[in-house]
Amino acid sequence: MPTGMLQIRAISAHPGGVPGRGVQREEEVCKYIDVTTCIGCKACEVACVEWNDMPFQQTTFDNTYQTMPATQWNYWNLIKFHEHQRDDGTQMWLMRKDQCMHCEDPGCLRACPADGAIVQYTNGIVDFQQENCIGCQYCVSGCPFDIPKFNSATKKVYKCTLCSDRVGQGLEPACIKSCPTGCLKFGTKSDMRALADARAKQLRDHSGFPNAGVYDPPSIGGTHVIYVLHDITKPELYGGLPANPQIPPTFTVWKRFAKPIALVLSLFAAPVAFFHYVSQGPKEPQPPPGLGGPGPSPGIGAKPAPGGADRVSE
């Protein structure tokens, strides 16, 4: 029986509430990240690697507690650490969980020229369908958050799926489940936004952070991952979170104006294309090496192929 449509209401012998309860898939989902109660423990990093069956890799000490400089094609969830001194001389150590923001207006999706390589579900999750990816990496330049990462071995681009495979079964994303302090929560966008607004208010009223606020940037229509920040006026401090994220004009212009014009122009190119097709054959998505060539499509939530990175040890 397909369970994708089933919503869990109660779980036997399970402490606390039902994860993801109340999340209707026709509603928009959201990850809530309270940076002010994140302790940088990296449980979410481990959960992400393990749930998605990522290979281990060798990292190098780089004068920081941060695991690696940036997310990678096989490391989708990274806590960014930043030491910061406030104007009054007090020290802060900011830790922000970096991952795909699942923008309401996704620059990656706008930029992508491959049919079906990037989809946005009605619940707001932006998901890459590697079987349709042609490896052009336009999505990389389309993203204001530097999230999609190219794997040169598979010639595909990868990023956080917001655990669409888990969410589709009524579960919370793996990172949320692993969070020990509860600084990560998952629910509907409206619920998470209300929670975040209340937390920001508490920080303003009781914790001496007059600029506390919620990062949910309107420039891209809001995001399905929102942050509570101590200081909403300085998001850059948190591992380079852009104050006003923008999709590069190339891609907005492409979608709105250039694409229709180009479509017309391309009619003239059709005979050329026909001759090219006859002589060269089509450009098709390439199966990842090591998967045994063409086969059934892996589908949503399929695990990226291991390989391309060395195991630290056997």
């Binding site: 012998a13 402490p15 606390g16 002010t36 109660t37 302790i39 940088g40 423990c41 990296k42 449980a43 990093e45 481990v46 690697v49 393990e50 281990f56 890799q57 060798q58 990292t59 190098t60 000490f61 780089d62 004068n63 920081t64 507690y65 695991t67 030491e83 001194q85 007090t90 020290q91 802060m92 150590w93 900011l94 830790m95 020990p180 302090t181 509860g182 600084c183 937390r199 508490q202 009781h206 914790s207 001496g208 195991r311 630290v312 040890s313």
Partner: protein
């Protein structure tokens, strides 16, 4: 923990110091966060480094490692000076009103009365209460100095080893014993107005009046204004006499690992008593235990000087059971008008039941319940002493199971050299480790290896998920776990290894005899599969069983012979019960395994969860909870009611199990601290409770950048002794060792294990040294450069982490730097085997010098030099 992890959510104020729970207890840290989110609780973090815990704090103060008593003493002074103490609580629930014997002297010069410099031992006879009665309103008038009453054997905490710092050096023997040990007077003199100059309160006030904000700044390096801010914030819960709020103190090994660690924790306990925070939801003194079962290891006497359940270990003067029980069973000592439950008066029942569990039918009334089978401790056998004895050639063999001995203790080089002198070593582990490969420690040449004659047996053991049994957490909860998967390959369960060694040894004694075979031949071994005892059977034995029908006089309940006991109230000293650990009695009853319960009901909303697992003692979640009520039995805070007096029923009732005599009415004035013979909390710890004094005093670490500003002539703890081997070297500032070094753990790693796990290694791949930005600038060190840290004992090489999170400090006016080193690497592991580390373990640097009460080494706050490697 007096309270528990979940209970932290009930607090209004947190002082986190000597611990880094966000990094080392990330799952438990959800509760401090919960208190912040739900109650707007404030969090003060005091640490040598700005840690990930500090990142969550409302106020962070950087302290010099080892200056904790100065800080806490300053808080006590501030609370008293500013009237921020819980007056009724202090008068009724502590010994503030008790009058101390004449001749007792405070340590203005660093020494209490009675010190003998030649032996480094105190004569503690003046550290006692005065015999007498109610002296309220007679301030200053001297009653006759009554001497200790002639009551039967007393002295609550007179552990033999605590009589003095019983020889921590190799040749150490027991301290010469006082002719007649002093005992507590049964009828204590007291002054409820707290005005008597020798009342505990006045002495306490005088003692800590020296810990002014200026003095705190000189010692700790915390600027006066910051200290005052923290002091005001922490004590604000008692502003204007308010008793509704509660504050908690949370600590870990950052407090214990000093040559005055026990006294740091005591200072915290005293502060909490003064503020009326002990016994209350959201209060307490809460030790975060560093391993999943270290609490269980302590409860079950994984320490040389106790028996399970914190019974005292016999010493050679305990000629028979009666002598032992007389010495270790306290009699009450209190104001005549007050009552004291004195729960340790049940010691004989616990001890005889333990002997029955140990020796079964061989323990008979006629042979003193086989008391003479128990080993008697003649001197110190603590961790560092074991290695010292092995280095001296006295100890010839060692079982190292479940711990990496070479790495864990201080002064790694000495540990390695000690093992070279042993005849044999058995290591039970799941990975090859530094201990099992001590013979190829870095720097050992081929020729040297050939000379090592130690036979090493490496036994593959089962990992935690391959065993069932109980973990006991910091909150004193026993939680049964099931086997997830069988041990791989030839790996065996620990209990199987121990059982088979025992059976073999017993067989040898049977065949060959020996000097004293009786304890081995007669040990009780009732398990269904003697070679593979099930932990469930052992747990049932620990809980205790009736050997004959036992009746509870209070309720008339009868427990039949052979049945599991419902709790320690049923234990008897006539041989009709057996019990492996009285504290765990009630954990596996006729109703089954209480520790396997997983009930999630929490009717009070206080996070008590009475049906989840089982908490010692008696499934009680907050200890001393009688103190959550005022003297009339009404909760201090109506919102967080734990227990209360029910006048109609004539009983204490509530959401938690009362930690009290349930039918003792408030007018009886029984003290809430029932484990003390006084019934009250000890601001003044009398007699031999502690080796170095009844009130904590700030002493400098053994290796310190300065002389103690309070008393330069007595800079260190006077009863601490240094080991004397050629490998026990100590550094001083004039030798160039000027930087304070501390060691610690990271979230990403677990001790010396996870360096074998690729996921953890990916998160933090290699060792590093955290260095203040300014110091790095001075030395031309950039982040990622290799640096060499050198102590008087050895050198350590790793990469530099240059950080703003450790600032230079002004200590007694002098610029002082601190550095920090995480402990997790050695010479076996993924990074080590790949050759990307220098193969140095951090404990090469640390000194073998220990706290005189708990024998914990001083891993925090020793002196080093730093240079570019």
């Amino acid at each position: 923990m007096t309270n528990g992890w979940i209970d932290i959510k009930n607090t209004d104020m947190m002082l986190i110091m000597g611990g880094n729970p966000a990094e080392n207890h990330p799952c438990g840290f959800k509760w401090p966060i919960e208190a912040k989110l739900q109650r707007n609780a404030k969090m003060i973090v005091v640490d040598p480094r700005f840690t990930r815990t500090a990142a969550s704090a409302d106020l962070f103060l950087q302290i010099r490692a080892g200056a904790d008593i100065a800080f806490l003493g300053g808080l006590i002074n501030y609370a008293i000076e500013n009237g921020r103490i819980a007056h009724d609580y202090v008068v009724n629930y502590t010994n503030a009103a008790f009058i101390v014997k004449e001749g007792f002297k405070l340590p203005d010069d660093g020494l209490y009365s009675g010190f003998d410099p030649s032996t480094q031992i105190y004569d503690k006879s003046t550290w006692n209460y005065q015999e007498g009665g109610n002296m309220t309103g007679h301030a200053g008038t001297e009653a006759s100095t009554g001497t200790a009453g002639a009551s039967a054997g007393s002295a609550a905490n007179l552990g033999y080893a605590a009589q003095g710092p019983a020889g921590v050096n190799g040749a150490g023997t027991a301290a010469s014993k006082p002719a007649a040990p002093a005992i507590l007077p049964p009828n204590v003199a007291y002054d409820l107005s707290l005005q008597h100059p020798r009342s505990v309160f006045q002495l306490l006030k005088t003692q800590y009046s020296r810990y002014t904000p200026e003095m705190v700044e000189r010692i700790t390096g915390i600027p006066k204004d910051q200290f005052l801010k923290a002091a005001d914030l922490f004590t604000s819960i008692r502003k204007d006499g308010d008793m509704t709020k509660a504050g908690t103190i949370i600590y870990a090994v950052g407090w214990t690992q000093h040559t005055f660690g026990t006294q740091i924790i005591r200072t915290a306990a005293m502060l909490q008593l003064l503020l009326g925070n002990v016994g209350r939801a959201g209060g307490g003194v809460n030790a975060l235990r560093g391993h999943s079962n270290i609490q269980g290891a302590t409860d079950m006497a994984g320490v040389f000087d106790i028996l399970p359940g914190y019974l005292k270990m016999p010493n050679p003067d305990d000629a028979d059971l009666a002598t032992f029980l007389k010495r270790t069973t306290p009699t009450s000592s209190k104001p005549g008008e007050w009552d004291s439950y004195n729960y340790w008066s049940n010691t004989p029942k616990f001890a005889v039941s333990f002997l029955k569990a140990m020796y079964g039918d061989a323990a008979k009334k006629e042979n003193d319940w086989a008391f003479h089978y128990l080993p008697k401790i003649d001197r110190n056998h603590a961790w560092t002493q074991i290695w010292d004895d092995m280095y001296a050639g006295h100890i010839k063999g060692m079982f190292a199971i479940g711990m990496n001995g070479v790495q864990i203790g201080p002064n790694t080089k000495k540990n390695i050299e000690a093992l070279k002198k042993a005849d044999w070593l058995v290591v039970g582990e799941i990975y090859p480790d530094e201990t099992s490969e001590f013979w190829k420690a870095p720097g050992t040449t081929g020729d040297e290896m050939k000379k090592i004659q130690t036979t090493v047996y490496r036994l593959p053991c089962a990992g935690f998920a391959e065993k069932d049994g109980n973990f006991v957490n910091s909150a004193r909860w026993l939680q049964w776990k099931n086997v997830a998967l069988p041990p791989p390959g030839e790996a065996r369960l620990d209990q199987d290894i121990l059982a088979q060694v025992f059976l073999k040894v017993r067989e040898l004694y049977q065949k060959e005899g020996g000097k004293f075979p009786d304890p081995i031949l007669n040990a009780r071994w009732p398990y269904t599969q003697p070679r593979n005892p099930s932990l469930a059977e052992v747990a049932r034995e620990i809980n205790g069983q009736a050997l004959a029908d036992v009746t509870d006089p209070a309720t008339g309940t009868v427990i039949k012979a052979g049945q599991q006991l419902p709790g320690f109230a049923f234990l008897r000293d006539d041989g009709s019960t057996l019990c492996g650990n009285w504290l765990y009695s009630g954990s596996w009853t006729e109703a089954g395994n209480m520790t396997a319960r997983r009930g999630t009901e929490d009717p009070s909303g206080l996070g008590i969860y009475p049906n989840w697992g089982w908490s010692w003692p008696a499934n009680r979640r907050v200890m001393y909870n009688r103190a959550s009520c005022d003297p009339s039995g009404k909760p201090w805070d109506a919102e967080r009611r734990q227990i209360w007096w029910n006048e109609a029923g004539g009983r204490w009732v509530g959401n938690d199990v009362p930690d009290f005599k349930v039918d003792s009415k408030p007018s009886d004035h029984m003290g809430p601290f029932i484990m003390n013979p006084e019934g009250i909390g000890r601001l003044f710890a009398p007699l031999a409770a502690f080796a170095e004094g009844p009130f904590p005093e700030h002493y400098e670490p053994i290796e310190s950048p300065l002389l103690n500003p309070l008393h330069p002539k007595q800079s260190n703890n006077p009863v601490v002794r240094r080991m004397k081997t050629d490998l026990d070297k100590f550094g001083a500032p004039d030798q160039g060792f000027t930087i304070v070094c501390t060691t610690y753990r990271l979230t990403e790693h677990y001790h010396y294990w996870t360096k074998n796990n690729p996921m953890n290694v990916q998160l933090v791949p290699e060792p590093f040294v955290e260095i203040p930005h300014d110091l790095a600038n001075d030395l031309g060190i950039k982040g990622g450069d290799k640096v060499k840290v050198t102590s008087a004992r050895a050198s350590y090489v790793a990469k530099a982490m240059v950080t703003q999170r450790i600032k230079p400090m002004l200590i007694d006016g002098k610029k002082t730097y601190q550095i920090g080193i995480p402990i997790h690497w050695g010479y076996r592991g993924i990074a080590e085997d790949e050759g990307i580390t220098a193969l140095t373990g951090v404990n090469l640097l640390s000194p073998t010098v220990v706290d005189p009460n708990a024998y914990t080494p001083e891993f925090k706050g020793f002196l080093v030099k730093l240079e570019k490697a």
